[in-house]
Amino acid sequence: MELMVKNEETEERNDRHQIALLGVVVAFVFINAAALSFARDNRLLFSHFRGPLIWLAVMLLAAVSLSRWRPQRDPLLLPLFGLLTGWGIVLLDRLAPNFLGRQTIWIGVGTAAMLASAILPRSMRPLRRFRYTLLTAGLLILAATLIFGVNPSGYGAALWLPIPLLGQVFFQPSELLKLLLVIFLASYFDERETVLRLSAKSGARFGPLPYLAPLLLMWGFCMILLVWQQDLGAATLFFILFLALLYLATGDWRYLISGTLLLLITSIFAYVVFDVVALRIDAWWNPWPDANDRAFQIVQSLYALANGGIAGQGVAQGFPDYIPVVHSDFVFAAITEEWGLVGALGLVCCFGLLVHRGFRIAISAQRSFDMYLSAGITVLFGAQALLIMGGVTKLLPLTGVTLPFISYGGSSLLVSSIMIGLLLYLSSES
């Protein structure tokens, strides 16, 4: 009886927190939409509010549904999801308004998928049971991209599959593979963790090699496909995910060291072999001699950062358009230029908070699979944000991943939404 009262109290508090935070987020998004409207047209124009209004409706629906069916969820996740997607809408209206309608639809679809994966599942068992099927399906689609892949912008790596019957809609299989891979790895480590942990504890260096062999094979297959496709970002991301979960499963930091070394060696190899890698590493190491040519993008990004100052230029008052494809890979530079250090640091804190809550869900997970899954998803979010933010600020070479939830891109948004949904589910289970 006492426990139930306590539960109800927690639930009420959850709802209050979520509503309060969402209120702040809604205010932020609409103030920025208004500012954009004034900056662009010197008056309030409905067209700048269409996206935010649809977003608001979707968020309210999500808030009500989660309160109703997932009262024990983590109350921070939905406001974070709302802030990032809402900010993304304003930013896309500012940077590439012709993509805005499409992205708004994707936010609707993504939120629906998030709610579905947060509310519908009774348990995570099917995911575990059919893990090889899922992974094989993912790999097949990825392999199909090798043959049928296109690039909607007409040039660059052909990482997209056209979706039949939907016209100009494309899907990026490596995004889907991200989700499938994290499920697969979670269930794999869940099954093998005892053995892995024991081998690690017994002191035999690389003792569990026989157990790891299939895993390494699977990973190698992913790598080959991705390197073949030259999707540097996804390859790096998968490898980081794999290393992090391996470390969780074995508790042995030597895997991290050797994995990082492997990553470095792979990078050096790739630097020598692949032009695209060499170009990005050169542009990262010293962009200035090539500032008008091969390192144009990163140099323009640094100019945007420098122009932001403390408080930023204000929405639509900076010049982020000088950065090529600013609306996908370089939104972070645009945010820094127009919202300044204040906005950019705030955004970093949002991702920091997301990572913190994700790992908290992992720590308090009841089942081992849940722990791996939530940790894996969190690692994906964190690493992806770190890779692109590091790339934009010249801390790391550019890897060409999107900034989760904010960058333009339907596949990325859909998959990220599903992963948030899974985190919501897992948080209400723990």
Partner: protein, 463 residues
């Protein structure tokens, strides 16, 4: 042996790897912290250096956002204004012959003329520290201020038309305040077409971008005669009614023979020498005056320093007088610009005082209120005495209410001749002075007609 091992196994099975999760969490948060530091580094520590790099398009954008002020003529007509969309402004010059005083503004090629010397005012970089802080933190573009020149658009157009296809320069001044009413230099340029034609303009041999009215360095020749005579009268060397022997004697400058422009009428007095522009007596007078007197005279008439006017000028290298006889007929080391000649002409005809030329009447302050531009008083020392000056001026005589003096001047070793013309009108109470040089033109009447018509036009524009 088997018992502890199985115990260990169950221990491990129930062990949550929360330590590892915490380690991963810390590693990632450390990563985010590094991003924050990197942001501070680029956004603050190295921001200034990034902002001023040549290839940063933001400096272009910031420049384009500035609403540059207008340049007006003395009656408020617009000589230069910025029109077009806020992010693609165009600098427009409604009078394509606004001339070298207005100059040009080009984003790519910089500025010249008033556009250059009043750049900060026109851009609006005149705010005090506090207003500038507010402006820059609100990211408001600079709002330029307007200025009003002493130029008259109509007189300017007339001067340009009169100079036409001749190479040379025209300066029209107000007699009272030495206000520059028109200034032309040909060949010139249309500031509206500057971007399109800049490469040609910058490399053309006849130097269209050069402002001959100020930057031109011409042999003064016999145009010096009235000044020398006034000085000689002051020194007690001559009187205008004194007779002169062998006035029409030939003298040679670099083997080129020089003689009176017209046969002097008998009896040949100094007045007749002046009217007939005879070089030989003047050369003798130069010897009598001597080096030092000549140099003092040149300095007093402003020939040894650049006039104080906010336009591009050359560094003036004044060489000491070499041969006094050559110096007094303007064929020694001294070269002067048309503006210098005009100001000296004004000094002579206005009682011997050298004035500071005026080009800008008023400027807007940071609240857009008009503030008059203050000019100093004329030189305190008279170049020549008022009475000698008056005598020489009246000896020149008037023609159609115009006091004038003109001369063909040997220029350069090839025997080229430039036409100089100095004019002043109306004769009894002068209001306008004009100085004209036409390069390589041995028909003096061309410059004379030009000068008379311009003075006539000036009187008609503002009777």
């Amino acid at each position: 042996m088997s018992e502890p091992s199985s115990k260990k196994l169950s221990d491990i099975r129930h062990q949550r790897p929360s330590e590892q999760i915490l380690a991963l969490s810390r590693a990632m948060l450390l990563g985010f912290l590094l991003i924050c530091l990197s942001l501070v580094y680029w956004g603050s520590l190295r921001a200034d250096e990034m902002q001023v790099r040549d290839d940063n398009p933001r400096s272009v954008e910031a420049e384009l956002r500035i609403h540059r002020g207008q340049i007006l003529d003395r009656t408020g007509r617009i000589l230069a204004e910025t029109v077009g969309a806020a992010d693609r402004p165009i600098r427009q010059y409604p009078y394509p012959n606004s001339g070298p005083a207005v100059g040009y503004y080009s984003f790519r090629h910089g500025t010249s003329g008033i556009e250059k010397s009043y750049d900060r005012l026109l851009r609006g970089e005149t705010l005090d520290l506090w207003s500038e802080l507010i402006r820059s933190s609100l990211h408001r573009p600079l709002q330029g201020h307007d200025l009003q020149t002493t130029l008259d658009a109509e007189a300017q157009t007339k001067a340009e038309a009169l100079l036409g296809s001749h190479t040379g320069a025209v300066v029209l001044l107000s007699a009272e305040d030495a206000e520059v009413i028109a200034m032309s230099s040909h060949p010139g340029y249309d500031p509206n077409q500057l971007d399109a034609e800049f490469d040609r303009l910058a490399t053309a041999e006849d130097a269209p971008l050069l402002n001959r009215a100020i930057q031109g360095a011409y042999q003064p020749g016999l145009i010096l005669q009235p000044f020398i005579l006034a000085a000689a009268i002051d020194e007690g060397l001559i009187r205008l009614s004194d007779e002169v022997a062998d006035a029409n004697q030939l003298i040679f400058v670099n083997d080129a023979p020089l003689q009176c422009a017209a046969e002097p009428k008998e009896p040949v007095t100094w007045q007749e020498v002046l009217k007939s522009r005879c070089p030989a007596p003047l050369a003798e007078l130069g010897d009598l005056l001597g080096r030092q007197k000549l140099e003092t005279l040149f300095t007093a008439f402003g020939f040894s320093s650049m006039p104080d006017i906010p336009l591009d000028s050359n560094d003036l290298n004044v060489d000491p007088v070499d041969q006094p006889s050559m110096a007094s007929i303007g064929q020694d080391t001294l070269t002067i610009s048309p503006l210098q000649a005009g100001l000296a002409w004004l000094a002579l005809t206005q009682g011997g005082l050298l004035q500071t030329p005026r080009l800008v009447n008023a400027v807007q302050d940071s609240e857009d209120n008009w503030q008059p531009v203050a000019y100093g008083p004329p030189s305190s020392v008279r170049a020549v005495s008022q009475s000698s000056a008056r005598r020489v001026v009246s000896a020149m005589g008037t023609r159609n209410d115009v006091i004038e003096f003109s001369s063909l001047v040997l220029s350069g070793p090839e025997g080229n001749r430039n036409s100089w013309y100095l004019g002043l009108t109306p004769a009894d109470s002068p209001r306008y002075a004009v100085v004209i040089i036409v390069e390589s033109e041995s028909n003096l009447s061309i410059a004379e007609q030009m000068g008379r018509q311009l003075l006539q036009a000036a009187i008609e524009i503002a009777p």
